[in-house]
């Protein structure tokens, strides 16, 4: 049983924050994905676990044992780097078997294990090649082979698929997932690609500005984001954010916060925004209902771009009287062309409300009275 625990880990580079108050747990055999834009601290967080970066504060435990000050080689951790870091002066077999060589495993046993791992990764026929003769995908497999041959207790991957083309990426993604399931090794995986994160992870750890924004299953972070950052980062195309307010206290009609240029109805808004103070309304492109004639409670908009995508079409529309463009998904059989006027409705259970200042989510359930201060969840 290998459980990884970060206990208030902070890493500072001089005055700059690399990662702050990281407080996460990865359970035994779990596939955790650290997700966030570049510079968000996800790699720093991973490197602290590997021992390649020393945390400024906090502790990291594996199975309850504090390993914060332990040398990387004594942590029983393997890592696949973004650049793969294959040893160019060694062949494929030597690369894969290198950790065992350092460990002092004899040549015969080493060869057997290398062949076994190569078999698992489907690169048995490449063992006698040089690394520079391999394709991107093959090099990837060699790097993974070198990482798993020791059967480490924790497996780290830092954007390992970043340099592959789209098709190969999907292929390798599936294989990594399968392999992780088979081996059952606790895994931390860093990526900035939310699609990759959603498909791979049992648990997503969404980071921004060096702090953890939300920890949860892919479905949780997608459907129940804790703040505007997570809501906007997860999902493609991104969630639309509109700065709005109620038309009148208690009204279900919302209007553009500054100039009331557009308006539409959203039922079931949190009571915390019952007055006419502005808030941010978040709606994913697919949760608008698209109408070609005026209906009650829908906002008028003009289509500026249509992108047919097979089963559906992606529209860029301009809300009436407002310069702001938003993305809307519509079924492919709705005949819409550029310049058309449409009406957009919002299904209330899919509209998210965020605090204008902090970006924190404002939930219905957490607030019971009109006077409650919007707190949302932890940013």
């Amino acid at each position: 049983m290998v459980r990884v625990r970060y206990d208030d880990v902070t890493k500072r580079y001089g005055n700059e924050i690399g990662a702050k108050d990281i407080d996460i747990t990865v359970e035994d055999g779990e596939f955790a994905v650290l997700l966030g834009p570049s510079g968000c601290g996800k790699t720093t967080t991973l490197r602290c676990l590997a021992g390649l970066t020393d945390p400024t504060e906090g502790e990291i435990r594996i199975d309850g044992t504090d390993i914060t000050d332990r040398h990387p080689k004594n942590r029983d951790i393997a890592m696949v780097f973004q650049e793969l870091a294959l040893y160019p002066h060694m062949g494929v077999a030597a690369n894969i078997g290198y950790p065992l060589k350092v460990e002092g495993v004899d040549k015969k046993a080493r060869r057997e294990r290398v062949e076994e791992v190569a078999e698992t990764l489907d690169i048995g026929e490449l063992l006698d090649r040089e690394t520079d003769e391999l394709s991107g995908g093959q090099r990837q497999r060699v790097a993974i082979g070198r990482a798993i041959i020791r059967r480490p207790s924790v497996f780290l991957m830092d954007e390992p698929l970043a340099s592959l083309d789209a098709k190969l990426k999907v292929e390798m993604r599936n294989e990594i997932k399968k392999l992780q399931r088979e081996l059952g090794i606790t895994t931390l995986y860093v990526t900035h690609d939310q699609e990759e994160a959603m498909t791979l992870g049992d648990k997503l750890i969404v980071m921004n500005d060096g702090t953890v924004q939300q920890v949860g299953t892919p479905a949780e972070v997608y459907h129940d984001p804790t703040n505007q950052f997570v809501a906007g980062f997860i999902g493609s195309p991104s969630m639309n954010f509109l700065r709005v307010r109620r038309k009148a206290p208690g009204s279900q009609r919302v209007v553009a916060a500054d100039d009331a240029t557009f308006s539409f109805s959203v039922e079931g808004l949190p009571t915390a925004v019952d007055d006419t103070d502005p808030f941010v309304l978040g709606v994913r492109p697919q949760y608008f209902s698209v109408h070609q004639s005026p209906i009650d409670g829908a906002a008028k908009a003009k289509v500026t771009v249509t992108e047919p995508m097979g089963d559906e079409q992606l529209l860029t529309v301009q809300l009436d009287g407002d310069g702001r463009e938003i993305a809307v998904r519509a079924p492919f059989d709705v005949a819409i062309t550029r310049g058309d006027t449409i009406w957009l409705g919002v299904s209330d259970e899919r509209a998210y409300v965020f605090d204008v200042e902090t970006g924190a989510r404002i939930r219905q359930t957490e607030l019971s009275t009109d006077t409650a201060v919007p707190t949302g969840s932890r940013p």
Binding site: G51, P72, P88
Partner: protein
């Protein structure tokens, strides 16, 4: 046209235009390869003739070598000069031995320290960007002075330290003066190594020390070889320090010995050519054997 981008110096422009016209004319007759090869051949003759003259001279009698008009090709070759050299100057063995010791010793120290220093400069964090540029540059500044300027204080220091006329003294002096070359030759090689290689090695079970020797050094091998050759050649050929810091066969090296063939009364040309050939042979042979690695080392890394 190339001349358009040149500064508008009338002479330069005229010469370039003329050269271009000549090139066009040669091209129209299909003579460009002939002319370029001819120029290359001239260069080869120019650089190699002294070597030929010395080696052939070592196989000729004194009268044959000094004949007027000079004989470019001799018919009466002899190897007699070689035993004659060692008979007349039995100390020649000692010079040879000193040269080997001083060269190998200084090259080993220079490459070892230089490599370690360069790795440190490139891979460790220094405040104010010291490691990336300023410290290596400071190391290089030791080569800005004419050697004759440093040799006098060095003489005094060596005298005090009891290093005058010792092989150890020359080893230390040569090592110190070769380290800058090693640092600057290897800097580019180390800078090109991705950090993740060392990190991967550490996660694979190495200490940083182990990763340096087992992973980093093999990866910069072309640079190491080039740096080694360079320091060997430098040390083997050095004359000025050896002349001033040594006084007898205890520590004198081959270049010093060669200088002694020119005496107040005569120059022993036939013996000098033998000694010169012997002094030149090891370096030439060495460079020839590793020529591919030498070229790779000079063209990879820093110089790109």
């Amino acid at each position: 046209m190339a001349t358009d981008t040149q500064p508008s110096h009338g002479v330069v422009r005229t010469v370039l235009a003329g050269a271009e016209r000549v090139h066009e004319m040669l091209d129209s007759y299909g003579l460009v390869p002939t002319v370029t090869n001819g120029i290359a051949l001239l260069f080869v003759v120019w650089t190699l003739f002294p070597v030929y003259w010395m080696v052939s001279g070592s196989l000729r009698t004194r009268s044959d070598l000094l004949a007027t008009p000079p004989k470019l090709v001799s018919t009466a070759l002899t190897v007699g000069n070689y035993p004659e050299l060692f008979a007349q100057r039995p100390a020649f063995y000692e010079f040879l031995f000193n040269s080997v010791i001083v060269t190998v010793g200084s090259a080993a120290i220079a490459v070892l320290l230089g490599t370690a220093a360069t790795y440190g400069f490139v891979n460790y964090e220094f405040p104010y960007d010291l490691g990336r540029f300023h410290l290596p540059f400071l190391v290089l500044t030791t080569r800005f002075l004419p050697p004759i300027v440093t040799v006098i204080p060095l003489y005094i220091i060596f005298d005090t330290a009891g290093l005058l006329n010792t092989r150890l003294g020359l080893v230390l002096a040569y090592a110190a003066f070769n380290i800058p070359f090693v640092v600057w030759m290897l800097k580019g090689f180390f800078a090109e190594l991705p950090d993740s290689i060392v990190e991967a090695a550490v996660l694979d079970g190495h200490t940083e020390f182990g990763a340096f020797f087992k992973i980093v050094l093999p990866m910069v091998r072309p640079g190491l070889i080039a740096a080694t050759i360079f320091t060997v050649i430098n040390a083997w050929n050095e004359l000025l320090f050896a002349v001033i810091l040594t006084s007898n066969t205890e520590a004198q090296t081959l270049p010093v010995a060669l200088a002694t063939f020119k005496t107040a009364y005569a120059i022993q040309w036939e013996l000098l050519t033998v000694a010169g050939t012997i002094a030149m042979a090891p370096v030439l042979l060495f460079a020839f054997l590793v020529r591919e690695k030498l070229l790779r080392g000079f063209t990879m890394g820093a110089v790109r």
